[in-house]
C-alpha cells in the first residue's frame, strides 16, 4: 500500500534543513556526500544538488559488508561502489532512505573506513523507523515513524519516488 501521509518533498525539505544546521554546527567543511544503493542514492542525488556540494556524489553498495551473507547469500544485483579514492581526513555525509535496524549503516561505516580514516561522518535519512538492533542512530531525518512488527517501509523510485508500506511474515533488514 502507498502511504499518502508521508509526502516526499516535505520530508526532503525537513532533512535538508536539518542537514544544513548540522553542517554549520559541526563545521563540516568541504564534505563528501555518499548515498547507499538504491534508495539512499536517489535521496542523495537531490540533497547533493540542494546543498550545492562540490565533490561528486559517492555511491556505495554495502553488499560485500553485510552481516547476513551466510544466511541470505549475495545480493543478486550488487553494483560497484563509486567513492572518491581519498577519504582520509574528510567530512562525510552518509545518506540512506530508511533507517531501521542500523545494520546497513554498520556495514557502510566499515566500507568507508576501508577507504581511509574520515574526520567526521554524519548520517542523514529520509525516514527513521523503530526497530534499532545496534547502537547507531541518524543525526538528521525527514521524519520518525513507528510501525507494527512485520511491516516494512520502502522507498520506490527513482522516478517518481514513492513510499510503500508492506507486510512481511518475518522481519528483514532495511
Amino acid at each position: 500500500m502507498t502511504d499518502n501521509t508521508l509526502e516526499i518533498p516535505a520530508l526532503l525539505t525537513t532533512l535538508e534543513t536539518s542537514l544544513r544546521q548540522k553542517i554549520a554546527s559541526r563545521k563540516l567543511t568541504d564534505p563528501i556526500m555518499i548515498g547507499i544503493h538504491s534508495g539512499g542514492v536517489w535521496i542523495a542525488e537531490q540533497l547533493h544538488k540542494k546543498l550545492e556540494i562540490e565533490e561528486p556524489l559517492g555511491l556505495m553498495d554495502i553488499s560485500f559488508y553485510r552481516d547476513d551473507f551466510s544466511q541470505l547469500g549475495m545480493h543478486p544485483k550488487v553494483k560497484p561502489s563509486q567513492l572518491p579514492a581519498h577519504m582520509e581526513g574528510r567530512n562525510i555525509i552518509l545518506i540512506d532512505d530508511v533507517f531501521y535496524t542500523g545494520r546497513t549503516v554498520r556495514a557502510a561505516l566499515n566500507e568507508i573506513f576501508d577507504y581511509g580514516r574520515p574526520d567526521q561522518v554524519v548520517l542523514g535519512v529520509l525516514i527513521e523507523r523503530d526497530g534499532r538492533q545496534v547502537p547507531l542512530q541518524p543525526d538528521c531525518s525527514g521524519c520518525s515513524v513507528t510501525l507494527p512488527i512485520g511491516q516494512r517501509i520502502k522507498l520506490t523510485g527513482p522516478a517518481p519516488l514513492g513510499i510503500h508500506i508492506q507486510s512481511f511474515p518475518t522481519e528483514s533488514d532495511e
Binding site: D61, S63, F64, Y65, F69, S70, Q71, G73, M74, P76, K77, V78, K79, P80, S81, Q82, L83, A85, E88, N110, E111, F113, D114, Y115, G116
Partner: protein, 320 residues
C-alpha cells in the same frame, strides 16, 4: 554430470566447467566481478564476506599466476587460505587423492581450489566430498579452465561492452588447450556472433566443428575483421607426438605479427592467458603494444575469482 555444479535451487555450488551452466549464471559472475574491481581503490583491499571460511588451494600441477590470483582473491575476501605443495605432501608418499581430500575435510575446510593434470579431477572430488564444501576447478588436464575463461570474458566485456556482434578468434594449440575449450563454450553461451579457431590441422581436435566454431588453417584468412584475438600458449609439455616441425616454423605460419594484426579491426584487442612465449606465438612488440590487454587480464583474474568464490560459497549447502 555437470548438474553437480548446481544446488537444488539451481545456484552455483561448484565451479567445474562452463559446460552445464547458462547465460544467466555467467552474467551474474561478470556483474559481481565488476563490483569487486572497485575494491582496488580501497586503502584496505579486503571485504569481510568470507571471514572465518577456510579455502585450500590444491595444486597438483605447477602454476604461479593462477595460484597467486586465487590466493589473493581468497585473502581479499577475508578467508583463510592454505596452499598445499602437493609435490612434497603425502600423495608423493603414496596416499590416494581421496584420502588426501578426506583428511583435509576432517580439518573443516570450506572450499577446495583444484588444479590437476587429469581431466575430470574436479568433478571427481566434488562427487566425493562433504555436502558443505565447494570445489573450484583451476584447470584439469585438457578438459576445462573455467575461471580463466570467465576472466577473459570479463576483459572482453570491459573493452567491448557487449558480446552480441563480436567476432573472436582463438589462435594456437586448440587440441591441448583447456583454456580454449572453456573460452569457446563461454563465448557461445554469452552469444557472440562468431567464434573462430585458427591452428594447423595437427593442433585442432577432430571434432572441432561440433564445438560451434569456424575453423581456419590460414591465420591471415581467420584474422580478417575480428574484434578480439586470443592467443594460446604452445603446450610443449603436453605434446607427445611430432605435431610441429619447429617453433620457428610455427611462428612463421601462426605467430601474431604486426602485419597480421592489421587484418583484424583497428580497435581489436589482443589477449593471452600467459605465460607468453615471445617470438613463438606472439611478436614481442604486440605483447607490449597498445592493443594488448594481457596484464589487464591478470588484474581482472583477482576480481573474477573473488566473484566465483563468493557466489559458490553462498549456495545453501555451503553456508549452513
Amino acid at each position: 554430470m555437470n548438474n553437480i555444479q548446481l544446488d537444488s535451487q539451481g545456484k552455483l555450488k561448484h565451479f567445474l566447467s562452463i559446460d552445464g551452466l547458462n547465460q544467466q549464471i555467467l552474467t551474474e559472475i561478470l556483474d559481481t566481478s565488476e563490483s569487486f574491481t572497485s575494491m582496488s581503490k580501497q586503502q584496505v583491499k579486503k571485504v569481510p564476506l568470507l571471514r572465518g571460511k577456510t579455502i585450500v588451494n590444491l595444486f597438483f600441477e605447477n602454476s604461479t599466476r593462477t595460484r597467486t590470483t586465487f590466493e589473493l582473491a581468497a585473502t581479499r575476501l577475508s578467508a583463510d587460505v592454505l596452499s598445499l605443495n602437493i609435490a612434497t605432501s603425502a600423495t608423493s608418499k603414496g596416499e590416494s587423492l581421496l584420502d588426501t581430500i578426506h583428511n583435509l575435510e576432517a580439518m573443516h575446510v570450506d572450499m577446495f581450489v583444484v588444479r590437476h593434470a587429469i581431466s575430470g579431477a574436479g568433478h571427481f572430488i566434488a562427487q566425493n566430498i562433504a555436502p558443505h564444501i565447494s570445489v573450484i576447478n583451476a584447470g584439469d588436464g585438457q578438459h576445462a579452465h573455467p575461471t580463466q575463461a570467465m576472466l577473459d570474458m570479463f576483459t572482453i566485456r570491459q573493452y567491448k561492452h557487449s558480446f552480441k556482434s563480436l567476432k573472436v578468434a582463438v589462435i594456437g594449440d586448440i587440441l591441448h588447450s583447456r583454456v580454449a575449450r572453456s573460452q569457446i563454450q563461454a563465448l557461445n553461451m554469452l552469444g557472440v556472433e562468431e567464434v573462430r579457431v585458427i591452428a594447423p590441422k595437427t593442433l585442432l581436435p577432430s571434432h572441432v566443428k561440433s564445438l560451434g566454431v569456424q575453423a581456419f588453417n590460414d591465420i591471415e584468412q581467420g584474422l580478417v575483421d575480428v574484434d578480439v584475438v586470443i592467443m594460446l600458449r604452445l603446450q610443449k609439455e603436453r605434446m607427445t607426438a611430432a605435431l610441429l616441425p619447429s617453433e620457428r616454423e610455427y611462428f612463421k605460419c601462426y605467430g601474431l605479427t604486426e602485419a597480421r594484426l592489421k587484418l583484424a579491426k583497428s580497435d581489436a584487442i589482443v589477449m593471452h592467458p600467459g605465460p607468453i612465449n615471445r617470438g613463438v606465438e606472439i611478436e614481442s612488440s604486440i605483447a607490449d603494444g597498445p592493443q594488448s590487454v594481457i596484464l589487464q587480464q591478470v588484474s581482472n583474474g583477482i576480481a573474477v575469482r573473488m566473484a566465483i568464490m563468493s557466489i559458490t560459497m553462498q549456495s545453501n549447502g555451503a553456508v549452513l
